[in-house]
Amino acid sequence: MLGKTAGGLYWMFRFLERSENTARLIEAGFRIALTRSSDPASEWKSVVTTAGVRVGYDAKYDSYTAAHVVDFLLRDLENQSSVMSCIDKARTNARMVRTALTTEVWEAVNESWMALRDVLKQPVKDTELPSVLGEIRRHTALVRGAMHGTMLRNDAFDFTQIGIALERADNTARIIDVKYFTLLPSASFVGSALDNVQWETILRSVSAHRSFRWLNTDDMSPAKIAEFLILDSRFPRSLSFCSRIIEQNLGFIAKDYDQKMPCHDLIERQRDKMRQHTIGTIFEDGLHAFITDFIHDTTVIGRQIEQDYRFIG
């Protein structure tokens, strides 16, 4: 397979995943901004920060209002991570790697692009926001479904999985990074209404509010939430789950090509690091430092994969 093709597949699915994550962040932000107890401007600010687009936003707007943030994150093509930018880039990458995709996957991504381009042509009104966000989620799910249902389980597929898992890991880590203070077991807040809203928001922004409750019927504590997001082996957006998917797929490629690359050492090192920790030791060593470290490692792994498999010449 061409290095460019591997890169195209990887980025196509990273961008699709990012568009979905951004939509989910907006959804969670929208909910919390509606609650009376919250400070909407600061909530929207943390949404923009989590999306990693503070600099661009601050250059364009002076204040954090729902209308501006939603528009910037959904439609603004100057924002490289806006949903529309991501869908555009996912499709551009898909066109580039057209020969490595099944017809079903290509058509799904092309249709998503056509549909969302129409939906996002004009600013989205508050009343339409839920249905627009729902449509974004539906379309990305459609592409993923087409991929799972039709693509050969070969190196091409492995690269898509790595792209998705890396983006997910990065997204979950950034959510924790921005909201880590609400997860610290500081006695004064525990059980307050504010905390409950904050925790709910975190869980919603990774689509985990229901699964978390399923697994932890009575224990809605910050430690439990942090453990779930970082170490749970069943939750598909937890850091350790994503890390395992990356490791697994890099393993498939190594077996397929009969060759181990430097990225394999890096991912194994990350796995070992994760294994050594319990949520207790993470809090002892410092949650924030752990997350910063994880984000850094993930970025380095991503770069190493690009280099090892010659995404660019």
Binding site: M1, L2, G3, K4, R95, T99, E107, R310, G313
Partner: protein
């Protein structure tokens, strides 16, 4: 141009009824509910959009992707007509290939005084880098798309020989696929020769042209300028259908005297490169130094015989519009036979007598740039107003060598399915010929382009043309 002249309609007779090849189709068509056909037509458009069968238009917003409109009335050709056409095309392509070998080697045709020396020596499409180079298998023109027009029952003319990188074959394939999906019953009632083997045949034909020392199954790849190219869809479509890699210049480099592509497991040698990049952009070291689309040093690898480039660099000299007028002589020179397919009468504006005639009769003629393509930069005399004619006359006087002129042909029409029923529109035909040392393969049919505007003669997709499925009937 709008003309009240009566044109030859390939489907409808002057009296009621349909011509022979359309008889069966006509019976089917009369039983159809127009509302259903309109719905089918909309389905086809949605299908094209969804599958991304679009082309980019130069000079418009980069994000602009347009559909080539598809008309659901097929263009039908009788087998006996096709037999003659394909013989004519084969003869022409063989002559062009021989011509190319000759002008890059002994130049017998120039010595014999049949083609003027100046026309070659001063032609930008003539590549000095190709002098003395014999491509693997002796093939220059691996893929040719000959543009043919019709003016009467037995009157076919070649309008252009596209011997560089002819495009449109993906539409030939997708148009048939669409018709099969929309009207499967038609194909069980009427025996139409298939086109779907084209990608397989292309791959095989290219593989036959691999360098002589290539061992095992040759690795074939398609070189595209990238996703912003107007024909990118076709490049990826063909790569997909042929099961070969679609590469860009930056995927390739010279490795140990071969061209190799960057894969996830290192560099892999390519034996045959079907390039959809123009000569000028192929190699920044040998041609345009600013090109980012090509591969530095590929011409050196080529000259050393380590890669096949299809079509060979320098084939543009054979489909130049000035050379075109010599084609009947070229065919006779190399094949010893008269041309089976006629040329359109052509005035070379470089010749003073012809220039005078062209200037005196500008409003009746079509004037084309010698190196132009895609319908750009041409004058359709009968459709032009006084100012346009005067402006063009100035251009002609300033650079006569740059132009040729032809009479406006009364192009045949085939009806399209319009809101108010059948409406005649002008068409042309581009069949695709594949050439290898093992022989010639011409897919029965080709791409029919149709000028959708009433009376228009310009069928180019960049100028509002559409396409039709083209049927060649079984005997």
């Amino acid at each position: 141009m709008t003309s009240k002249r009566k044109h030859f309609d390939e489907m409808l007779l002057d009296s009621d009824g349909m011509r022979g090849p359309y008889a069966e189709y006509g019976r089917w068509f009369e039983q159809q509910d127009p509302a259903r056909l309109i719905q089918k037509s909309q389905e086809a458009e949605a299908f094209f959009r969804r599958t991304g069968i679009t082309f980019n238009v130069y000079g418009e917003d980069a994000a602009q992707e347009r559909l080539i409109p598809f008309d659901l009335i097929p263009r039908i050709i009788a087998n006996r007509e096709w037999v003659k056409l394909s013989k004519g095309i084969e003869q022409r392509v063989r002559a062009i290939n021989a011509f190319l070998h000759d002008i890059y080697h002994r130049q017998e045709i120039l010595r014999a005084g049949i083609v003027p020396v100046d026309l070659i020596a001063r032609n930008e499409a003539y590549l000095p880098q190709m002098i003395g180079v014999t491509p693997p298998g002796g093939i220059y023109t691996h893929i040719v798309g000959t543009d043919i027009v019709r003016t009467g029952e037995n009157e076919f003319f070649v309008l252009e020989d596209n011997a560089r990188t002819p495009s449109g074959v993906s539409y030939m394939l997708e148009n048939r696929e669409t018709m099969l999906q929309m009207f499967p019953e038609l194909f069980s009632q009427i025996k139409v020769q298939p086109v779907s083997d084209y990608p397989k045949n292309l791959r095989r034909s290219l593989a036959h042209c691999a360098p002589a020392h290539c061992e095992g199954k040759p690795t074939v790849a398609i070189l595209t300028p990238g996703i912003h190219n107007s024909a990118y869809f076709e490049h990826s479509f063909l790569a997909d259908q042929m099961g070969v890699e679609l590469v860009e210049g930056h995927d390739l480099r010279v490795v140990d005297g071969h061209i190799a592509m960057r894969t996830t497991q290192g560099y892999e040698v390519i034996d045959v490169l079907y390039r959809r990049v123009d000569d000028d952009y192929l190699d920044p070291l040998n041609f345009n130094p600013d090109s980012m689309l090509g591969v530095p040093g590929i011409m050196d690898v080529y000259r050393a015989g380590n890669i096949t480039i299809a079509n060979a660099p320098g084939t543009g000299i054979s489909d130049d519009k000035a050379i075109y007028s010599y084609m009947p002589d070229i065919i006779e020179f190399y094949t010893g036979e008269k041309a089976i397919l006629k040329n359109v009468e052509t005035y070379r504006c470089s010749e003073p007598d012809s220039l005078k005639y062209v200037l005196d009769n500008l409003s009746d003629l079509v004037v084309k740039e010698v190196h132009g393509s895609g319908g750009y930069g041409m004058l359709v005399g009968p459709a032009a107003n006084k100012k346009e004619l005067a402006d063009f006359a100035d251009k002609l006087r300033a650079r006569p060598n740059n132009y040729i002129a032809q009479p406006t042909l009364s192009l045949s029409t085939v009806p399209i399915f319009a809101d108010k029923g059948l409406a005649p529109r002008h068409v042309d035909l581009r069949p695709f010929a594949l050439m290898s040392p093992k022989g010639m393969d011409i897919t029965a049919g080709g791409l029919t382009r149709v000028a959708l505007k009433d009376g228009s003669l310009v069928v180019n997709s960049s100028q509002g043309g559409g396409t039709k499925d083209t049927w060649v009937l079984e005997d």
